[in-house]
């Protein structure tokens, strides 16, 4: 009789069990963790200075001295790749913070106030969403002049409205839940409802959104750097490194592969984590036919 009541697994075991079941999520976490380690590695390992040129060793293939080879100015590709981790990922994370700083209050206020405020706020978001995102970012950069800062601002300006919309949708769904209604009827203040009831509810799906959106922001930022209107050389940044690698891809494929794989892996890590979290949250299984 007792054998069918669940054995209580401890949280860690449960987490590990979940990770095993969600291999995508665990791979994603491992990738992101690896990038975090790499970005910290200069504290322990001495790399060649990422901007140091060795003009005699230009475009050299991977060797014991330069494990990932050198670029067109004889700079060490490995150390540039490592130095680019905090720049590229940092820029994406920073852009995401800016996006959230705008879209979270925007979506919360619109969702909770409803009515005319909601209509006006969403209309304003719609105006920006009327432009394809990358094109809007391009226009903003055209306004500010090319730089990493401008591309972050451009991307944030183009990306926040859709995030605000998603957050608003989450808020609306949360607002309809019984206990939120009850709290409201019980006379809880808006602020209290937001922080005590709505935020905890939208946080899990918001994590999914943040993870997936950071991936798309990272892609956008590296695209802009690749077009030469994002991070400016000699700043090590993956998109910019690819831009520099372009002319040489016939002679030095390693210049093209290293930053390209770096972007792909980082985006993959973020996507896997986002997808994995989504599956963790949505445990429904389809009927088999």
């Amino acid at each position: 009789m007792n054998n069918f009541s669940a054995k209580k697994a401890n949280p860690l075991q449960k987490f590990i069990f979940n990770l095993k079941k969600h291999s995508g999520l665990s791979i994603g976490i491992i990738i992101l963790f690896a990038f975090a380690l790499i970005s910290l590695s200069p504290l322990f390992i001495t790399y060649i200075e990422p901007n140091k040129m060795d003009l005699l060793a230009r475009l050299s293939p991977p060797s014991s001295e330069h494990i990932l080879g050198t670029d067109h100015l004889g700079r060490d590709v490995l150390s540039r790749f490592v130095a680019a981790v905090p720049v590229s990922l940092g820029a994406a994370l920073f852009a995401m913070v800016v996006i959230l700083a705008i879209s979270l209050p925007w979506g919360l206020i619109a969702g909770i106030m409803g009515g005319r405020v909601d209509a006006i706020m969403m209309r304003m978001a719609d105006i920006i969403m009327a432009f394809p995102t990358l094109i809007f970012a391009l226009a903003i950069i055209g306004f500010m002049g090319a730089s990493l800062e401008a591309s972050i601002i451009g991307v944030a300006a183009a990306w926040w409205p859709s995030n605000a919309r998603m957050i608003r949708a989450l808020v609306l769904a949360a607002k309809e839940r019984e206990f939120v209604r009850a709290a409201r009827l019980a006379g809880a203040s808006d602020l209290r409802i937001v922080f005590r009831h709505i935020m905890p509810q939208i946080l899990p799906p918001l994590t999914v959104i943040i993870s997936l959106e950071t991936a798309s922001v990272l892609l956008a930022l590296s695209s802009l750097s690749f077009l030469g209107i994002g991070a400016q050389p000699p700043t090590p940044e993956w998109g910019a490194m690819l831009n520099e690698a372009r002319p040489f891809f016939n002679q030095a494929l390693h210049m093209l592969l290293v930053p390209g794989l770096a972007v792909t892996l980082a985006v993959l890590g973020l996507n896997l984590v986002g997808e994995g979290l989504r599956h963790l949250l949505d445990q429904r299984e389809p009927y088999k036919w």
């Binding site: 901007n51 230009r58 067109h72 100015l73 030469g228 050389p233 002319p247 040489f248």
Partner: protein, 514 residues
């Protein structure tokens, strides 16, 4: 619409094949030349801009620059300048491609067009034209300039037949006829069978506009185009060394230099100190840059005008070598002492210089800015590098408001007027308002004013020489780095007659050896 045009192309191709196969025709030779930007414009009012490189095959100028950058006859047979009056004798036996004879009437009409344009480049007094014979006439400069003929070597001053639509069907006296134009894609010209001069080697020239530098090079390697007309140092770095791409070069003419902000407000006032400018000049390893970039064809520069040009000679400037130790001492002497982080400082202020690269765009000098940054870092100067791929942003955001310490430029005196470059870049009265901050002061203003007012060419050259020395040596308004040839790239089996001035590379005279 898209499909229609490709269908039309197919049909016309079919007709072409049919017309070729009928008589026993010698095989047509064709050449495809790639340029970065389509500069062909159809605005009649802006027609001074229209005759850029491709269209220059259709219309010709009055004179062309010779090897020493002096005007030599083309449509003008001879000219004379006495007391403000130019007397012109035209070449006889020339006619426009539609058969209209080229004579004093049509020439005057063509020259008068330049006053109806918005920009009065030639500064001719349009009321002063006076026909003195069927092939001769006189005119005056409205500003008393002795350099009108020199300015006519600019390809923007080609002579069109008036009374026709220059935008849709430009008619000139040149070796080619307008055939087809797809904006931002291609312009095709075909041989003018009735050309008055030496017949070109190539029957049909197609100019392709490919904006992306790498795409141009890859397309050449892939055999999709024959010649690249605009070549960047990155392309030369990545050029395959197996002989599949051939480099053609002129004498060095373009300069790469750092223009110093001599009149900037804080924080862009560090360059006011001559010692700092000199230290920078000594900390540039020009030999290394020259050996790595531009396929090793650039030479360390002692000035921004090459010595061969106008017979200026190499000796009126001394130039600067590479001596980081000396540079360091100069900076010490100027009060900029080394800080603990390897960056110099003075009165608590870090020596951070903003280097804006580059005019006309950063790809024309890349990756030189990064190389310079490392060299300056070695003497304790921190560089805030701003790369601009847009000459509009360059001049309006950085140059005009003085938002920078050093401005990297890649340009040339693309004109046989010896005062052209110096006057525009280094005088307080420059017509290019952005360049106020690079003017050393009244003494240079005066030198160039005298040069422009001089009535003989020797006198002009003499003054220019003095002004040039002042700018690149005594005042260091421009810190010279390299002098670079004008390049083209081609597939093997092509020989391109190069010119120092890109607009004067004559693609019709290309010889094919296969």
């Amino acid at each position: 619409m898209f499909k229609l045009s490709s269908a039309a192309r197919l049909v016309s191709a079919a007709f072409l094949v049919a017309s070729i196969s009928a008589p026993a025709f010698a095989a047509e030779n064709e050449l495809t030349v790639a340029f970065k930007r389509d500069r062909y414009s159809v605005d009649e009012e802006k027609f001074t801009f229209t005759v850029r490189r491709p269209a220059a095959q259709i219309v010709e100028t009055a004179v062309k620059p010779d090897a020493n950058f002096l005007p030599e006859p083309l449509l003008f047979k001879s000219w004379d300048y006495v007391d403000g009056v130019y007397s012109i004798t035209l070449r006889e036996g020339v006619s426009f491609s539609d058969g209209t004879p080229f004579n004093a009437d049509t020439a005057i009409a063509a020259l008068k067009l330049y006053d109806s344009g918005r920009s009065d480049f030639l500064q001719i007094d349009p009321e002063s034209f006076e026909k003195s014979g069927p092939f001769s006439f006189n005119f005056r400069s409205e500003v008393g300039s002795s350099l009108v003929i020199e300015n006519m070597t600019h390809r923007a001053t080609s002579l069109f037949l008036t009374g026709t639509n220059r935008a849709e069907n430009p008619i000139g006296t040149g070796p080619y006829l307008f055939e087809n134009y797809v904006p931002n894609q291609s312009l095709t010209v075909k041989r003018n069978p009735n050309y008055w001069g030496e017949a070109p080697n190539i029957d049909k020239l197609t100019f392709r506009f490919i904006g992306d530098d790498n795409a141009r090079l890859l397309a050449l390697q892939n055999g999709e185009i024959d010649i690249i007309g605009e070549v960047t140092p990155q392309m030369l770095l990545s050029m395959p060394q197996d002989g599949s791409v051939i480099l053609h070069e002129s004498r060095p003419i373009r300069y790469v230099a750092l223009l110093a902000n001599l009149n900037g407000a804080a924080p862009f006032d560090i360059m006011h100190d001559y010692k700092v400018r000199e230290a920078i000049a000594w900390s540039i390893d020009r030999e290394t840059i020259a050996s790595v970039l531009y396929a090793g064809r650039g030479i360390p520069a002692k000035g921004i005008l090459p010595g061969w040009m106008f017979n200026l000679g190499d000796n009126h400037t001394d130039g600067f070598g590479y001596d980081p130790k000396k540079a360091g001492e100069m900076l010490d002497a100027a009060g900029w002492v080394m800080g603990s982080d390897g960056i110099r400082e003075k009165d608590g202020r870090k020596m951070t210089l903003r280097l804006v690269a580059a005019y006309p765009n950063v790809s024309s000098v890349k990756p030189m800015p990064e190389m310079l940054e490392q060299m300056f870092l070695a003497v304790g100067i921190d560089i805030d590098l701003v790369e601009v791929d847009d000459s509009g942003v360059y001049s309006s955001t950085y140059l005009k408001p003085g938002e920078g310490d050093l401005f990297m430029e890649f340009a040339s005196n693309n004109n046989t007027d010896p005062t052209y470059l110096l006057n525009n870049l280094f005088t307080t009265k420059t017509p290019w308002a952005s360049y106020q901050l690079t003017a050393p002061g009244p003494h240079v203003d005066a030198m160039l004013e005298q040069a422009r007012a001089a009535q003989t060419r020797d006198e002009v050259i003499e003054k220019v020489r003095a002004a040039h020395r002042a700018i690149v040596q005594d005042d260091l308004a421009a810190i010279p780095i390299l002098l670079v040839p004008n390049f083209t790239l081609s597939r093997p089996g092509i020989s391109v007659p190069m010119s120092e001035y890109a607009d004067w590379v004559d693609f019709g005279q290309v010889t094919l050896s296969d």
